[in-house]
Symmetry: C2
Subunit: 135 residues, 2 copies
């Protein structure tokens, strides 16, 4: 795999290859909504729920908490402080009606994206299946 040549490594450090390269992005928001719809959670728990299933995208804590805040700013989720059975209080999120409408729109978009990925894979396989024997 080629390394990124644009990003200069920091002083005294090995070159750190761009981790984004090779990953389709923009998929965290609908997952958060769906997980919260399955049952209301706080950030830390969502972090664990994301980590448990490898079929879900990995997530960075900073991104998770910031995304939750954004979703709340936009009225897609609502939060309330909850003094759990132990540990510090946590912010419990749940999806609003607007959030559900948003999720439906997202699901359609994801369906379309899935079809585009399928089209790509089909074109990709077609190219290399045909080319294999001739080159």
């Amino acid at each position: 795999m080629p390394r990124c040549r644009r990003q200069r490594p920091r002083e005294g450090e090995a070159h750190r290859c761009c981790p984004l390269r090779g990953r389709v992005r923009g998929f965290v928001r609908p997952w958060l909504l769906l997980l919260l719809l399955q049952h209301p959670s706080h950030g830390y728990e969502l972090l664990e729920r994301f980590g448990q299933d490898e079929r879900m995208p990995g997530i960075d804590p900073g991104l998770l908490y910031r995304t939750l805040r954004h979703l709340e700013d936009e009225g897609l989720v609502r939060s309330s402080w909850d003094a759990g059975p132990r540990g510090p209080a946590r912010r419990l999120y749940q999806v609003t009606d607007e959030g559900i409408a948003y999720l439906h729109a997202w699901a359609e978009e994801i369906q379309a994206t899935k079809e585009r990925l399928e089209h790509f894979l089909q074109a990709y396989r077609h190219h290399f299946d045909r080319g294999e024997g001739n080159e």
Copy 2:
């Protein structure tokens, strides 16, 4: 659909809703490599090829030209000036061996992403199929 509340509209203009919202991104580079592999093109032609098929993601000219340059910086494509039959000279791109290796890696990643999207859609449908009758 909810509107973005973070982005302020410009003076005298209607609020312009975030077009990114609701779209899975990060998919332009492999498409460029595959299109160029099908046959070498210059930027303007790629722009048209992207526009012709709705199963491909839309692309902005600025992003296209910049992405081509990045791919070249990274050694994934090579370019040469080509004085076409008419109009100004254009930069003709073709994929390198490194670019092909990169595309193969991308294809695996896209396969995995497609499966993650399927998993999302499945969980989404499962949630709403079950919930529909009860609410």
